[in-house]
Symmetry: C2
Subunit: 203 residues, 2 copies
């Protein structure tokens, strides 16, 4: 709190006068952060030049760019507070839950559109897939923070868009290969492995 | 620190005498936590009565049981410290990274065994899949903490074991369905949706 007031050149009294509690302050910061994030979501998911499935990828790439700008040191405030604050503050926990609901809604619509276009498998409910995507992505960011490099983000995108969000009709090697011990690997398998290896090396 | 000393009925001087810094203390707690976790990993992944793919599932179910015991309020210390400490302490960050490497190793072996048995698609490297599994699972736990219920864990298990870790050769509806708009849904699709719905309701 002292640091925040010093950075804002404001007396501490103004701070404690304005915010009734640290929780109230954290809630305000969280809301502003989510307003900013919503803009990024809208930019990616409303991009009519892309197919719905491509828009999902775009979003993850946009966030990757922001994380790169911060040197892979800073993650997502929603994720940070989910682990730090939700066990201590009922108020922040409820606020975070409400944010997750609002956050997932445009993703669920986009995934439903991709399913309607046959771009994504329809086996799972679009809202469940949206929840899965956002939660797992928080996990990838968590791993990125520990490594301080983007490997976990690139790995996540490669694996998820070739499995959970793979285009129906694209080769599913597992169902085609007769034996894994075969010396010859399918072209796609080689590509998938190379994609991950290449990305890991590049950074 | 005061609380810890009070709980241990130890004078604060003993604490500061024993641990050179809060970092040193957190490192010690982390190591003990990981020792405990390694036992759970070994129990699940060395269970010879299960196939390698079933062992992966078993691990997630064992952890789910532990999280339930804590009323879905407490998550994973490794995840918590990854987000809280890794931006502030280089020492803890390096320790966490080393833990992730040790943690993923038995999972990579188990996944490689599942791939060798044709139980899991071999398109991706087993170590990459192990990293993906553990990081994404941390994301599911993060979401669980905010909701204080197991929906995100169950959703994660259902989706991941029917996509990333699905048994090769099991129906991939996306490649079989002609049009998503078809009124008739495949039996498996119905089952997948019902599985998620049922689990959400039960809890």
């Amino acid at each position: 709190m002292r640091d925040i007031c010093a950075a804002a050149s404001a007396p501490q009294g103004s701070f404690t006068n304005h915010f009734r509690s640290k929780e109230a302050f954290a809630g305000e910061v969280l809301d502003r952060y989510f307003d900013y994030l919503k803009e990024l979501v809208a930019q990616a998911l409303k991009d009519e030049t892309l197919t719905p499935r491509e828009r999902l990828k775009r979003y993850l790439d946009v966030i990757t760019g922001k994380l790169e700008r911060d040197g892979w040191r800073i993650g997502c405030l929603i994720g940070d507070l989910s682990l730090e604050a939700s066990s201590q503050s009922q108020r922040l926990r409820k606020r975070l839950d409400s944010i997750f609901h609002k956050w997932r809604a445009p993703f669920a619509s986009c995934i439903a559109a991709a399913q309607a276009d046959g771009e994504v498998d329809s086996r799972f409910d679009a809202t469940d897939l949206a929840e899965f995507l956002l939660a797992s992505w928080e996990g990838a960011i968590l791993r990125m923070k520990v490594e301080r490099r983007p490997a976990a983000l690139e790995r996540f995108k490669t694996i998820v868009f070739e499995t959970v969000f793979k285009k129906p009709g694209t080769p599913d090697l597992g169902t085609r290969r007769v034996s894994r011990r075969s010396a010859k690997r399918g072209a796609n398998e080689g590509r998938a492995r190379q994609a991950l290896r290449g990305k890991s090396k590049r950074r």
